[in-house]
Amino acid sequence: MARYVAKRVLGMIVVMFIVLTTVFIIVRLAPGDPASLMLGPEATPADVVALRARMGLDQPVVVQYFSFLGQIATGNLGQSIFFNQPVTQVIAARAEPTVLLTLFSIVIAVAIALPVGILSAYTRGSLFDQGSLSTAMLAASVPSFWLGLIFQQYLATGAGWFPVSGFGSPSATFFERVHFIILPSIVLGIVNSALIIRFSRAAMLDVLNDDFVRTARAKGMSEWRVVIRHALKSALIPIVTVVGLTFALLISGAIVTERVFNLPGLGSLVVGAVLRRDYPVIQGVLVVIAGLYVLINFLIDMLYLAIDPRVKY
């Protein structure tokens, strides 16, 4: 078991290293000189040279690369050119809506998908099964921005249950801010539940035909216990995997939804940073999102360990 964990940690470090290198290269491959772009067409060549020096852009690429790695190792993501603040602070200020949106969406997605997937598998071929499959297909095909607009129209503007958009005033309490997050979370939850429904249905179908499920029935336990305690636990590995991947995708994939609902999250931050060519912020957000990806994958691997005693390599 210790070997399994050590291997995963090592893998995590290697992946993170590759990610950082890729981020560094991609950002530098983008056309245009950030210093002259930032200063605008009227800037003197001397100003541009000065800014390039301040940003370290006059150094050889290799030097830039190692100072980039060194900074990140010490938790320093650089200084935002546009905000003139440390990138870590810029990100921290925008993290809350994204984190809340992601968490709520995944909770809603799982809350919809798991019962539907299990029941679909259990009543395979029934009206419910066919209905849930086609609904899931529909949910997966609907663009989240469209669903977002529809929900805004009917549930926010129409029924008035939720605010239409935004994240409240800076003085809003936590619960007021959460209120802003619920509608976009439902949108993302529904859209992302489709894949999880398909996966949990397939995984449960597999397991429900297994011999040990028949053994469980032969022991004289309730169907509920057979399905939840014996079958579902076995089906959890593929389900946990797809939930984890959905979770990771949501962190970066919330961008469109953040736009529709005008949430000041990481998505809108990175879009703005790209338009302004604010390299350190782009880099910083990419590093943070990639880091979360890697971390989530690591947590999935650890969950395997907790679920299945046969996992140990």
Binding site: D210, R214, R217, A218, K219, G220, M221, K233, S234, I307
Partner: protein, 352 residues
């Protein structure tokens, strides 16, 4: 709900009439069909047998003969769209009452499964839950049916592992199934099945997936435990050798019907039905490897294949493969006596 309440709802005594005092199980004219949208597989037709306390009845037949479906019908574990369409399954509860399992409520069946009637399966590799320790799986059976606490259930689980002769039971109890060999796992299955002292053990090909040496050990174990625990065994197999080892009585099934029923000695000494004769002749014998001229003896096989359960011949189901067949075999034939405690479903052999 208390036990007696349930007994009243299921009208146990009213439906269970017809079971002799020394009988644990009586299957009467059982028919189980799998009904699909546009066709019906008549998997079991008109099967009857009786099982006395402490005895072993072997149901023998090739795959598709309906022997496993018979056991699943008794357990109420038929998968969709399987349904008992006719007949009764009378069972004597440990309380002494007799109940017809075909009419029992889901609740009653849950109480009977594991507690009264236990089952072990063919595949010890896949029949245990891979994510639970064997101890937990045995203990689960105990606390499902008995008022006990965790510690006692665990202690009983260790005792059961000792009972099925697993060395180092105290240590092995925390093992997962994948730590164990096939034979060990089948011992665990047996331990689990015996956890609540059932009166009837249904063993569905329990030794088929095992090596021959392990097979013999498991059969020995089952025989010993049957004697110690005074339980009846319904043993399902396709292996005539295993039948000879373990059975008191035998029912031979073919294409969903019982073609012959007899005490084991009688069946081996004087098989009546052509199918039984074919089965017995197909057992390879070591000392018959060469004939009088020194030629290698070919293995005897029954020619042809089992008829489709969707499209059964109107008369004797074995008629399509039988060497003795006549015009009259196209007429339906019933199971009738051909000797002491001996029934056969062949009119021709009965006369011979």
């Amino acid at each position: 709900m208390s036990r007696s309440d349930e007994a009243t709802t299921d009208r146990i005594s009213a439906n269970g009439q017809g079971l002799a005092p020394d009988e644990v199980l009586a299957v009467e004219r059982l028919s189980t069909h799998f009904v699909y949208k546009n066709r019906t597989a008549k998997v079991i037709r008109d099967v009857s047998f009786r099982l006395k306390k402490g005895r072993t009845l072997a149901i023998v037949g090739e795959s598709g003969s309906g022997k496993s479906v018979t056991s699943l019908s008794i357990m109420g574990l038929l998968s969709e769209p399987g349904r008992v369409v006719d007949g009764r399954i009378l069972y004597r509860l440990s309380s002494g009452e007799a109940v017809d399992l075909t009419g029992a409520s889901k609740r009653t069946m849950r109480r009977i499964r594991g507690r009264e009637i236990s089952m072990i399966f063919q595949e010890p590799m896949s029949s245990l839950n891979p994510l639970q320790t064997v101890g937990d799986q045995i203990a689960e059976m105990i606390w499902l049916h008995m008022a006990t606490n965790r510690a006692n259930a665990r202690k009983r689980a260790v005792d059961l592992l000792r009972l099925v002769e697993i060395p180092g039971a105290e240590r092995r109890i925390d093992d997962y199934p994948h730590h164990m060999s096939g034979g060990m796992r089948q011992r665990v299955m047996i331990a689990m099945a015996l956890a609540c002292d059932p009166s009837l053990l249904i063993a569905d090909e329990p030794t088929t997936a095992l090596d021959v040496t392990i097979q013999a050990q498991i059969l020995d174990l089952m025989r010993r435990l049957q004697g110690e625990l005074d339980m009846s065994i319904l043993f399902i197999t396709h292996d005539m050798g295993v039948v000879a080892e373990i059975a008191d009585d035998v029912a031979v099934m073919y294409a969903g019907v019982a073609v012959e029923q007899a005490p084991v000695r009688r069946l081996f000494d004087a098989p009546n039905h052509p199918y039984t004769r074919g089965l017995l002749a197909s057992i390879p014998e070591a000392n018959r490897e060469r004939d009088d001229k020194g030629q290698r003896v070919r293995l005897t096989a029954i020619p042809g294949t089992v008829p489709s359960l969707y499209d059964l011949p109107p008369g004797c189901p074995f008629e399509t493969r039988c060497a003795w067949r006549e015009e009259a075999c196209l007429e339906p034939v019933s199971l009738e006596p051909c000797g002491p405690d001996h029934l056969s479903r062949c009119w021709k052999m009965r006369q011979a």
